[in-house]
């Protein structure tokens, strides 16, 4: 089964496959597939292997190894240096830690209008509309995508690094936020 998974993941490349997808393709139970994935993972950890198994955005994918990056850089034509801007990162962080969240709420935290950044992030498919809030006007709510998780090398949203020093009393902060909004209306 390991070999089949390896082949499947090779074909799927950057799309990868979820655990459930693997189960249905292989017609096997989750535990069996997970076990095979674990074995495959440790096989790849050996020094004589050039690829590794990673969970990125809920999908298992085969990637190259970090320690060989110097060699890959030589064959990539363009530098992948288009890093996200500070404002994009900031907005992403706010969305990731608070999803679902409306643009107004994002603006509130950042203190600036975020329409442009949000549009850019939507185009890059790092965030998506996930629904509408019950607030007046039923504004759109945004959340992060699997592509976002992949972009930061995360398996799932729970792997997001913990926010340092969260406010001591978040209740009061909520109260403030709602009151502030009323004032703004």
């Amino acid at each position: 089964m390991k070999a089949i998974i390896e082949g499947l993941l090779f074909l799927k490349g950057s799309d990868g496959l979820t655990l459930l997808e693997l189960c249905s393709i292989l017609d096997k139970k989750e535990e069996e597939v997970s076990q095979a994935l674990k074995e495959l993972y440790s096989d790849y950890q050996k020094e004589d292997r050039g690829i590794q198994l990673e969970l990125l955005g809920g999908h298992f994918k085969l990637t190259t190894k970090q320690e060989h990056k110097e060699y890959y850089k030589k064959i990539t034509l363009e530098e992948q240096n288009a890093n996200l801007s500070q404002s994009a990162l900031e907005t992403l962080a706010i969305i990731a830690y608070n999803e679902p969240i409306t643009r107004m709420e994002i603006d509130e935290i950042r203190g600036v209008n975020s329409s442009y950044v949000i549009r850019r992030l939507l185009i890059k498919n790092l965030i998506q509309e996930v629904g509408r809030s019950d607030l007046p006007g039923r504004p759109k709510q945004y959340g992060v995508t699997n592509a976002f998780l992949d972009y930061f090398g995360l398996g799932g949203i729970d792997e997001l690094p913990k926010m340092e020093e969260k406010e001591p009393d978040s209740q009061e902060e909520d109260l403030f936020a709602s009151r502030y909004q009323e004032k703004n209306d």
Binding site: F10, L11, K12, G13, S14, D15, G16, Q52, E54, K61, L62, T63, T64, K65, Q66, K69, Y72, T76, Q80, N83, L84, Q86, S87, L89, E90, L92, A93, I94, Y97, I109, R110, G111, V112, N113, D150, Y151, F152, G153, L154, P161, M163, E164, E165, K166, E167, E172, E173, F176, Y180
Partner: protein
């Protein structure tokens, strides 16, 4: 207090405030509203001097700062004794914003790390599907064309018979040519006969066409007696 004016590095008023606070080496919770307001307004002024457009958000924050400052400075009345520190809201906001700003550092690290591993594009599996489906059934290009033509024909039949309600547009120029043709063929025509249709547009356009042609001396309009038929003829000298 000296500061460098390097504007692009600020992502909004909160970012600027955090920067000013950091510069003065004080804890966010201990900020002096009077001092920070002065610095903030100084900065806004500098921006103005440099002829930079100040985003409205900066001005909103300036107004908020001045408001907080005024509340701090005004002597408190007794009923208001229990009111919370006017700086509280601003401090909370700054702390919250700072938290997110901090978290972008770890995101940046992750972004960088992720860029160091590569994945390959998913394979195009369509190629494999095709090899399993036999293509040669002895079908020629003509067969295909014929089939396509049949399909188009059947499409034609499927069309509802009357699909559009058209609104015919009349143009004076077009009507002129028509009248010219009639006169050329019949030599003369009675005025009434030119009004074959009785829709408002048709009548108006025809009448205008006749007026136009007569103005250009293309036709002569004759009437032998009052209330007699008006006859339209080609101007003889035009030929």
């Amino acid at each position: 207090m000296e500061y460098k004016v390097s504007l692009p590095s600020y992502d909004g008023p909160l970012d600027l405030l955090l920067h000013l606070i950091k510069q003065s080496n004080i804890n966010i919770c201990d900020i002096s509203i009077v001092e920070i307001t002065r610095q903030y307004l100084d900065y806004i002024e500098k921006m103005e001097e440099m002829n930079l457009d100040i985003a409205s958000e900066y001005l909103v924050m300036a107004a908020e700062l001045v408001e907080i400052k005024s509340r701090v400075l005004l002597p408190r009345q007794e009923e208001e004794e229990e009111e919370e520190d006017p700086r509280e809201q601003l401090i909370q906001r700054l702390l919250e914003y700072q938290n997110y700003k901090e978290s972008t550092k770890s995101l940046k690290k992750l972004e960088h790390l992720r860029k160091e591993v590569y994945t390959k594009e998913p394979s195009d599996l369509l190629d494999f599907q095709d090899s399993n489906t036999p293509m040669d059934y002895g079908v020629t290009l003509e067969d295909l064309l014929e089939a396509f033509q049949k399909f188009l024909d059947s499409k034609e039949f499927q069309k509802p018979l009357n699909t559009k309600i058209t609104h015919q547009e009349y143009s004076i120029g077009k009507r002129c040519t028509e009248i010219r043709d009639i006169i050329r063929a019949k030599k003369q025509v009675s005025f009434q006969d030119l009004f074959e249709e009785v829709t408002k547009e048709y009548v108006v356009v025809t009448f205008l066409a006749i007026l136009n042609m007569s103005k250009r001396q293309e036709i002569s309009i004759e009437q032998s007696r009052n209330f007699d038929n008006i006859v339209i003829k080609e101007k003889s000298d035009k030929i």
